[in-house]
């Protein structure tokens, strides 16, 4: 992760905004915690001792750098050149651990004893439980009751790692509600607890802090692509967006390279007009969600809409403020991918390359037929996670 300050229209400004999005719209009960983090995070991250510890853990514990794999059979199918950034090979099975390693080191330097987190697919919950075990900190994970059922393997993993998993039973009982509960937990335990948010969402400085920790993805892609192709910039970089952390990490070092087209895949669920969707930019409007001014799915009356996606990690009614800014400014291009398209893409990758992707990452893969890239163009897809946790969903789809 480069800590040099990029002065860019796509980096957070001093006040915590990306254009008009971002900020810290939080109740006073959360202000001291968030302010403590805001005042300290840049200094902590810039500290060489922190960098050393963070880098060492990414190398020896997470297994970085993750490979950049030239997917030849997939490339042939789409008549172009496709590289997969193998975040699925990270320890715990997804990119989420890049962020939890960074945040647990921050939490330790802030003297926190307990960690609370929310999780959707359970990947962030597992990644948090993992680093808590590693550092010997207490871990409480809120997870929507519905997500606990559909991502059971991850619930079992969290238990095995010694975390307490608390079902969120309000609202749609998915990621949004787990986030509400984690925030409430933090309100009730303000002094000794750090909240490890799992994506580039929430009040400033979370979106920026998480993006910095995930930026290792594009830092590596730049080097690896140069080695493999002689150029460090692809024509397209594609990532799925739940809250947007793997996308933020994959885009980070390309934000100011206008020749690199940034492509985001959001979950259309059963279809944009079906009433069962999580396609935030297609269906949402600017507003405030989880402490941030961003784009969210909401009713006329400003009530947050309960989203739907087959993929628990994308089943969220908002996106991080960076992505709201990329969308509004036209810097990023957003595709809505249905459940069906995602599952088909997952089978395609499995059969063509021998890699079973997470349902979330399958949404990024499903952009390929829509992209119509030229044969001499280079596409990098962020394969954010592996599909072990989703086998039940995939086989259920096969049986249909």
């Amino acid at each position: 992760m480069e800590t040099t300050e990029l002065k860019s229209a796509f980096q957070v400004d001093e006040r915590g905004y990306y254009g008009t999005f971002g900020g810290a719209f939080i109740p006073e009960m959360l202000y001291p915690n968030v302010e403590e983090l805001r005042r300290n995070y840049l200094d902590i991250i810039a500290d060489p001792a922190f960098q050393r510890e963070f880098r060492d853990l990414l190398t020896d514990y997470v297994g970085r750098p993750t490979p950049l794999f030239h997917a030849r059979r997939l490339s042939d199918t789409y008549q172009t050149t496709i590289y997969l950034k193998r975040e699925d090979l990270c320890h715990t099975g997804a990119h989420k651990v890049n962020n939890t390693i960074g945040q647990i080191l921050v939490a330790k330097r802030l003297g926190k004893q307990r960690i609370v987190a929310e999780t959707g697919a359970g990947q962030h919950g597992v990644a948090t439980a993992t680093v808590c075990a590693l550092m010997g900190l207490e871990c409480i994970v809120y997870m929507g009751k519905i997500d606990m059922e559909r991502q059971k393997p991850n619930v079992d993993r969290m238990h095995m790692l010694g975390a307490k998993v608390v079902p969120a039973t309000s609202g749609s009982q998915t990621l949004k509600d787990a986030t509400n509960e984690a925030m409430r937990h933090w309100i009730n335990n303000p002094v000794d607890t750090h909240y490890i948010i799992g994506s580039v969402v929430g009040p400033h400085p979370y979106p920026d802090m998480v993006a910095r920790f995930q930026s290792v993805i594009s830092e590596e892609v730049k080097k690896q692509l140069l080695e493999k192709t002689g150029r460090s910039t692809p024509d397209y970089i594609i990532a799925c967006v739940g809250g947007g952390s793997n996308a933020a990490g994959a885009f980070y070092h390309y934000l100011d390279e206008p020749t690199v087209r940034l492509v985001a895949a959001e979950a259309a669920g059963q279809g944009l007009t079906s009433g069962h969707s999580a396609a935030t930019t297609a269906l949402g409007k600017p507003g405030i969600l989880h402490g941030s001014r961003t784009i969210l799915m909401q009713t006329e009356d400003g009530q947050v809409v309960e989203p739907y996606s087959i993929s628990a990690g994308l089943d969220y009614p908002g996106i991080g403020p960076l992505h709201a800014h990329l969308y509004s400014s036209g810097r990023g291009r957003f595709f809505s991918i249905t459940d069906q398209e995602a599952v088909e893409a997952a089978f395609e990758l499995s059969r063509l390359e021998g890699i079973i992707p997470a349902l979330e990452s399958s949404h990024a893969l499903a952009c390929l037929p829509k992209l119509k890239a030229a044969s001499d163009e280079v596409i990098v897809i962020c394969l954010s996670g592996r599909g072990d946790k989703d086998l039940a969903a995939y086989t259920a789809y096969l049986d249909k």
């Binding site: 939080i26 109740p27 006073e28 001291p32 409430r184 303000p190 409007k285 507003g287 909401q298 006329e300």
Partner: protein, 271 residues
């Protein structure tokens, strides 16, 4: 003059502010509750505008929000319910809610409607002080709407001073690090915090809320501030007394103010 300002000009202790959720337990219950609270002689009323994701609220108020939304409440509907209320209810009224629905309604339109129906102030816990000052204060002032800010035991002195500076009306002291509906009671630690704030001699009067539910907690809070706010306990009362709501409200408010009422309730219970 703004009714909240007028209230604090005429009264500086034992101020009782009651919160309830609009459209709960039934859609058209907003006005009957307002009328009963007015009849019961409360000093201030806070109407909760239901929201799908009330992060600062505990279970009781969350569930009342959910139910009210299922009943069909919206901000538009709430303003319709409140039109004409000032012919019957003179008590100052605040609207409490989250920022997103207000933003979607349009801040200017929202304030205009507030002024039209006779709302005196707003509590929007997720509206940051700086955003208020830069983007909202001008609009609020134009319509004579006060904005009430919260402080907590963790709010540091310099920030309390800053909040005191931008506040008009009163400061809402959250009693402990908690969402609404805390069952902690009033501990010595809280009393130390109440004393610390009292000794700061703030410009604005202070009301203590979160965890205030009966004669004892109300009067303990009143010993350290100008008054106190009851929320979750009152919402529970509404839920449990749908048949004889008016009598239950009169009785409860009286029991908060007068200890003999508590004795009477207890003797009734044991009889």
């Amino acid at each position: 003059m703004n009714r909240i300002v007028e209230l604090f000009r005429n009264k500086s202790e034992q101020i009782l502010n009651i919160y309830f959720t609009a459209g709960f337990p039934t859609l058209e219950n907003t006005v009957p509750v307002l009328e009963a609270l007015s009849e019961a002689g409360v000093d201030l009323i806070e109407i909760g505008m239901p929201y799908s994701d009330p992060v600062a609220d505990g279970e009781t108020i969350q569930q009342s929000n959910q139910k009210a939304l299922e009943n069909g409440i919206s901000i538009k509907r709430l303003f319709e319910q409140l039109s004409g209320i000032r012919e019957k209810v003179k008590v100052p009224i605040l609207l409490m809610g989250y920022l997103n629905p207000v933003v979607q309604f349009g801040v200017e339109d929202f304030c205009r409607r507030c002024a039209e129906v006779g709302i005196d102030g707003l509590i929007l816990p997720d509206l940051p002080v700086d955003v208020y000052k830069e983007e909202y204060k001008g609009i609020f002032d134009r319509y004579g709407i006060l904005n009430i800010f919260l402080i907590t035991p963790q709010t540091i002195e310099s920030r309390i001073r800053k909040i005191d500076e931008v506040s008009d009306g009163f400061i809402y002291m959250v009693s402990s690090a908690s969402t609404t509906g805390s069952q902690k009671g009033i501990t010595d630690e809280m009393k130390a915090y109440f004393s610390r704030i009292k000794e700061m001699n703030l410009r604005n009067p202070r009301l203590i809320g979160f965890g205030i539910k009966d004669y004892e907690t109300f009067h303990t809070a009143c010993a350290y501030a100008n008054g106190a706010i009851v929320g979750s306990a009152f919402v529970r009362l509404l839920e449990q007394n749908q048949e004889n709501q008016r009598a239950a409200i009169l009785n409860y408010v009286s029991s908060l103010r007068h200890s003999h009422q508590v004795e009477k309730i207890f003797s009734n219970l044991s009889a």
